[in-house]
Symmetry: C2
Subunit: 354 residues, 2 copies
């Protein structure tokens, strides 16, 4: 029996993607070779990574606008460093909206002065700071668009006149934004793009080449652009599965279509949380993420019963992050609305029982 997978990441991908990805491990493109044993320099794989890079720019509406899409190693955490390596000359402005922003700040501090222009730490990161300003004295502004742990999401990005860098690991390809407002977007693959093991970087070329330090080759975006994401052997399979997933998204109608579905799922679940007397939401209502809904049982006593009921209903991965506890239902692109309906049904059953 297939599970209802609300895992926060790595997360559910479409079952059609799993099928094709499984077949390619046995025989890729009828080549008589597994996707796991082919050279990354083979025509077949070069065409995979090229198509993936093109699809990314197409889906984001950034084709022919001076941007490059790269598939790199190391997870978004490596980008915490790479961003600073490539862009930080003197000082940068960071918005602190939780664990991931805080980690990005910590690592960037090795390279220059980091100013937190705003933080919601005093509110346990249950909301997004507003009404801050970022002047032109900074090398760049960095923010995290969606905070998986707290279930908050930036709805309106500030208007800044310096390069805007955004960690979109957990909501890229889930909603329409004016992506041209961003100069560098990065995202670990393992939410809406693909499996763990590769990281997307979308960068406007004109912001590069302006720092005075020597950058290690592997982290130098200009070198990675020149080498077409193949400075070293890329994570072949993770890139391939990402391509399958991007193709799926395109076939559905792209970001516009999936955003509609995502809003519907989120609306259903949040109204169930608000209308069920046993539950309470964690994040401030106006900042609620459409990807990760965080919520708690008002009475901790009911947790064992609710957990059992979820398990019985084949619901997987709704425990909150170990740092804040409670529950978290992640509703990434590939999660069907039927899974959300099942979760709501279990929540309502609990209310009737309790």
């Amino acid at each position: 029996m297939k599970k209802h997978n609300f895992s926060a990441g790595p997360c559910i991908l479409p079952s059609s993607v799993f099928k094709e990805a499984s077949q390619a491990v046995l025989d890729f493109n009828n080549s008589g070779l597994s996707i796991l044993e082919i050279s990354h320099r083979s025509k077949d794989f070069v065409s995979v990574i090229e198509e993936a890079r093109t699809l990314v720019l197409d889906l984001l509406g950034l084709q022919n606008k001076g941007y490059q899409a790269l598939f790199l190693h190391g997870g978004a955490s490596t980008q915490f460093l790479s961003v600073a390596y490539n862009l930080l000359e003197k000082k940068a402005a960071y918005l602190n909206t939780g664990t991931w922003s805080s980690k990005a700040i910590k690592e960037a501090k090795l390279f220059g002065e980091i100013i937190e222009v705003a933080s919601s730490k005093d509110k346990q990161f249950n909301c997004i700071p507003k009404n801050y300003s970022v002047d032109q004295s900074f090398d760049y502004f960095h923010c995290t668009s969606n905070n998986t742990i707290y279930g908050t999401q930036i709805k309106e990005f500030p208007s800044v006149e310096i390069p805007m860098v955004c960690d979109m690991s957990s909501d890229i390809f889930s909603r329409e934004l004016n992506f041209e407002n961003f100069d560098l977007i990065y995202a670990g693959a393992q939410k809406n793009m693909g499996p763990a093991g590769t990281t997307l970087v979308v960068v406007k070329e004109s912001i590069l080449g302006k720092v005075s330090r020597e950058i290690p080759s592997l982290f130098d975006y200009q070198i990675q652009i020149e080498k077409e994401s193949m400075f070293n052997t890329p994570a072949v399979y993770a890139v391939y599965v990402s391509l399958l997933n991007l193709r799926w998204l395109q076939s559905l109608g792209g970001i516009k279509a999936i955003e509609k579905a995502n809003h519907k799922k989120a609306q259903l679940l949040y109204s169930a949380i608000d209308n069920n007397s046993l539950f309470t939401g964690y994040a401030a209502k106006e900042d609620r993420s459409i990807m990760n809904a965080t919520f708690n049982l008002k009475s901790k006593k009911l947790e064992p019963l609710f957990n059992d009921m979820c398990q019985e209903a084949n619901i997987n991965g709704i425990n909150g992050h170990r740092s804040i506890g409670g529950y978290r239902a992640s509703m990434y692109n590939a999660l069907p609305i039927s899974s959300v309906e099942i979760l709501i049904e279990v929540m309502n059953q609990l209310e009737r029982k309790a």
Copy 2:
């Protein structure tokens, strides 16, 4: 029809590994979930990475000897940096045996003084330098055990009284060595360990914590040890397929058994190269790699015919590296001896025809 895959990496893995790896993409451990959609913090995956780490130390004979095995991101190229970040205080000694050593040297230079204690560059890297010495004034000595591009391999490692660091990307798990002589071994997975996308680091803990610089968290071996390779989301699938491959190796009888098979394959192919009037080997005989045999047709005119004959015989991936041309037959652990026999048969057919 299955190919004879001599690809230099990513490379052939056992077909039993491909089968199990393919199945896990559909349903991992009968969990109702794909290996690609499970949390890296789930019990199932934690047990995968723990078993893989244990198996590595078991196979290398390093269990309970003060070593830790880590599965990290970024390919061996990231280790060019990490090694220097963690170990280079003032100056380090590097042996230059080709492209990969040269790249390791280039990146380490960002962190301190690098002395090339010996180099075979003036011989187009067709041999391994001998008769050099490494004194105790260096922070560590770095070498590359096997050079995929040139087909050379270090048979005897120097005896040094400083930490010995070795890039074993292309021959780890292929031959018995006294692994205790090494203080840090690293290897991109995509040869004898698994698919591209994860990197093994085996490090003696006692050499760590001695540099004065601040190390980015992701590259700090001590942090990765403490976090059990999960400072950030690991490359789940690449680690899983590596585990399957390590299990396969153990079931065969470990490194001792595979080394015997590897020697047999290499012996067969090298004697075919030496005995065939049309071919000539690239690497100095005493330094020939048992993993990658590099050779040339004496007459370039025969290349198109030989290429066609190879293709007809379902032989894949024997073109030499683009930097030196010619041919390269990589005979990693999973390559069956029957594939080597087919290649030799084609070489002999060519001799009869020409």
